[in-house]
Subunit: 150 residues, 2 copies
């Protein structure tokens, strides 16, 4: 899936991504970067609303997991189970969310478990960046349900 295809998919299926004017900055097997402008995500202090930051980070992490599963020929339903956000600095301009697997995640074990049990869990993280500064950190645990349980 290319960056343009992912962007279209998000805009078509998750209307909030369109309202937030999310765009796909880059897509790779190990990292997805989404970006969003300040204006549609602004708050009463003229910085990015925390809910927007968390939502874009969630989208980035979900997208990476969805794309990796598709690439591995394991179409699955991916559901977020829990997440946390640390807001480190206000963001007063356009921002990005860069998602990767959690460093402690065992991808091969996850894939084996998903194939064997039809259900497996994995953690991803995302970093929010604005004007060259790390402004927030997201961590999320996702559950994938295999083909039979789509």
């Amino acid at each position: 899936m290319t960056a343009a295809e992912l962007e279209t998919y998000l805009h078509d299926h998750i209307p909030l991504s369109r309202a937030m004017v999310v765009h796909v900055v880059s897509v790779a097997d190990d990292r997805i970067v989404l970006g969003a402008p300040l204006a549609p995500n602004i708050n009463h202090r003229d910085t990015v609303f925390g809910g927007s930051a968390a939502a874009v980070a969630t989208l980035a992490a979900w997208s990476l997991l969805h794309l990796r599963l598709t690439a591995a020929d394991l179409p699955s339903r991916v559901v977020i189970q829990s997440s946390s956000m640390d807001y480190l600095a206000p963001m007063a301009a356009d921002f990005t969310a860069s998602a990767v697997l959690d460093p402690g995640a065992d991808w091969d074990g996850f894939v084996r478990m998903l194939a064997r049990r039809g259900r497996a869990r994995i953690a991803l993280q995302a970093e929010l960046t604005c004007e060259g500064q790390t402004a927030g950190r997201f961590w999320g645990e996702f559950v994938a349900f295999g083909k039979d349980r789509l």
Copy 2:
């Protein structure tokens, strides 16, 4: 601040609240309930996008703290510092987020600290409900900066 005034404030200052079609269900000193319809918050599985759920919960908690501080004549800048979400069940219809102070929060100590140091921290929680079922739990830690540091 009435429910209508809060709704206008949110829609005017946080455009994402308008995009999510957030409405104020009820306002009280100890609880604020916000609601949102499914359609603008839907995901690719026809349930509420997790990012929308987290964003509405964040708004509810922020609103309660903002209103309590205003009522206590302590106008402050309120910033979210960290948050977590547990997603308990998919939401396939309109939903609400009901915010209260964290049961462990010490409101009087928070107010004293804010008055004395110009900065204090407090935790709030919010429950997401859909079709009579608890579908998620939000917990957030907020920092208030007093008048001098507005």
